[in-house]
């Protein structure tokens, strides 16, 4: 699936909850819980993206023209967000990743987690994902 398609899918998923943020967060937390575990060997300092509070680990592979991301976080809400980002950006081509605007985050009402002043390291994570994709762009 294309990035935009996955985004649409997620948007419909979250639309079910309407304005009920509790349900939305329950779902986000469930997504976090079901995020496939990153291989312990990848939970290294190099792969650590430090937010002021929650930490994110992120590892990427490049296979058959596509980026494969695995990731983890020590906070469950952050992990839910991480799960969404991995779902959208993993198994995509570098060019698509670099150009992704990720507007779905706004549309499902979780924009606040991406404010640059946020203490959770998610913005740095997205930047890192894009940077790593960028490295494979020229290849």
């Amino acid at each position: 699936m294309q990035i935009r398609e996955i985004e649409e899918e997620i948007i419909s998923e979250f639309e079910l909850f309407g304005d009920d943020w509790e349900q939305k967060y329950e779902h986000l937390i469930d997504l976090g819980k079901s995020l496939p575990l990153i291989e312990p060997g990848y939970k290294t300092d190099v792969n650590l993206i430090k937010g002021c509070q929650s930490r994110v680990w992120m590892h990427s592979d490049f296979k058959e023209g596509k980026m494969i991301f695995t990731a983890d976080s020590d906070a469950i809400i952050t992990k839910g967000m991480v799960a969404l980002l991995v779902r959208v950006l993993s198994h995509q081509e570098p060019v698509a990743i670099v150009n992704a605007r990720l507007e779905f985050i706004d549309q499902i009402g979780l924009k606040e987690h991406l404010s640059p002043t946020r203490a959770n390291g998610l913005v740095s994570m997205i930047n890192r994902m894009k940077q790593e994709a960028l490295q494979h762009l020229s290849k």
Partner: protein
């Protein structure tokens, strides 16, 4: 589970107080604001905001040396603010009260000044294990440069300060004891009397970080008798960018200058400067005049309620919150002493404080999460961070009740 309303302010009194704070009209995520992040900064009453406003509407001018009316008015407001602050802490000579930009700045002025002339390689500085970074880093910076040694008073298993262990730390090389009056993370009140008794025997300079005591309890400086005491107005219902550095009279002449500039002098040539006497010596540049005016208004505001009443009210909130938190098996409370001021720190077992804080915010409850600028304490507690609820005079038992109820919901969500 007793609410102990006896010690909290009664409903109408609290309501009158809350009406003074315009921010409580604010709605957060569809909920009215429950502000429990007072340890970070407190909200400001109209009386303070209007004092600042009036200053800019009526009297704004640069102070000192000005012969015109506005400058005279501004100078008088500024020096009256100094008198108000001095009187609040029972200091007879207002010159002992230097305005700074805050607690952190005050500690930098002390550590930087002392390390220039008084501290020598091999000298020791004693801190506690629960110090705020602002009372660690300035000492560490100069320790590295001058070859000073930092020693740390450990905590007992209940996270209170281990006074007996402190006794064994002091030596003839000990020059400074720098301690938080109240721990910003645990809320514990430091037994300064016990520590100062030892300090006195070793002729040690005492520095009190009053950032978390000054908002919550009466502080009588001559009685406490430290060499230095610092605090921040923004934690005392006052504006940002202003604080107090109190020093014993002798330090007014003996503390070497760490910073300097216009306004601090008698005469200047390129070769030599003769400095002024008193507080001005330590206040280079145009001061934060509107800040001083707001600080004084904040102090008047606190005194209109009475510091003892504030202490009683907030202690009761802490006691009640602690009792209720301890009923929850999923919750761990840090520093469970009764001797606490305004702050309570906890974690939901197995949950990241960030998650708890994020979800509480959704219910309109503002708590602080993370290391609270006390990373060494976090390392000691073996946690990444905690959730901290800290109270001010406008908080109520009902808010604590609501917080506990929502915390239970949060526990279900994250488990």
């Amino acid at each position: 589970m007793e609410k102990g309303k006896g010690n909290t302010l009664d409903g109408p009194a609290i309501q009158r107080i809350r009406n003074d704070f315009p921010i409580f009209k604010k709605v957060i995520n569809g909920q009215s604001l429950v502000y429990f992040d007072n340890g970070a900064t407190v909200q400001k009453p109209l009386q303070v905001i209007q004092a600042i406003e009036n200053y800019y509407y009526q009297s704004n001018a640069n102070i000192h040396r000005g012969v015109h009316t506005l400058s005279r008015e501004a100078t008088e407001l500024y020096e009256t603010a100094r008198n108000t602050v001095a009187a609040h802490f029972n200091v007879a000579n207002p010159q002992q009260c230097v305005f700074t930009s805050g607690t952190t700045e005050g500690i930098n002025l002390i550590a930087g000044g002392l390390s220039k002339a008084i501290l020598r390689s091999g000298d020791e500085i004693i801190l506690t294990a629960y110090e705020h970074h602002s009372n660690i880093l300035p000492w560490q910076l100069h320790a590295q440069e001058r070859g000073l040694k930092l020693k740390v008073i450990p905590l007992k298993s209940d996270q209170s300060l281990d006074i007996a262990a402190a006794m064994t730390l002091f030596t003839d090389r000990t020059k400074v004891l720098a301690v938080a009056h109240v721990s910003n993370t645990l809320g514990l009140i430091t037994d300064l009397q016990a520590l100062f008794k030892i300090a006195q025997q070793y002729n040690v300079i005492t520095v009190v970080d009053g950032a978390q005591s000054s908002p919550h309890m009466p502080v009588n400086l001559p009685e406490l008798d430290p060499d230095f005491f610092v605090c921040s107005a923004h934690k005392m219902y006052g504006p940002t960018g202003i604080g107090l550095l109190y020093m014993k009279e002798k330090w007014l002449t003996e503390l070497p200058l760490f910073k300097t500039g216009g306004g601090t002098i008698k005469t200047v040539t390129f070769e030599h400067t003769e400095y002024a006497e008193g507080a001005l010596r330590f206040e280079p540049g145009t001061p934060h005049i509107s800040g001083a005016v707001g600080f004084a208004a904040a102090i008047d505001y606190m005194n209109s309620i009475d510091m003892s009443a504030i202490y009683k009210h907030e202690s009761e909130l802490v006691r009640y919150a602690q009792t209720r938190l301890l009923e929850l098996p999923e919750v761990e409370v840090y520093g469970q002493s009764e001797h606490k001021a305004g702050v309570i720190s906890f974690n939901v077992k197995g949950a990241h404080p960030f998650d708890v804080g994020t979800l509480l915010d959704k219910y309109g409850i503002a708590v602080r999460t993370g290391h609270h600028c006390t990373q060494p304490l976090m390392q000691l507690l073996g946690v990444q961070g905690t959730v901290r609820a800290s109270f001010a005079i406008y908080n109520t038992l009902e808010e604590v009740e609501y917080f506990i109820e929502k915390l239970k919901r949060v526990i279900t969500l994250v488990s």
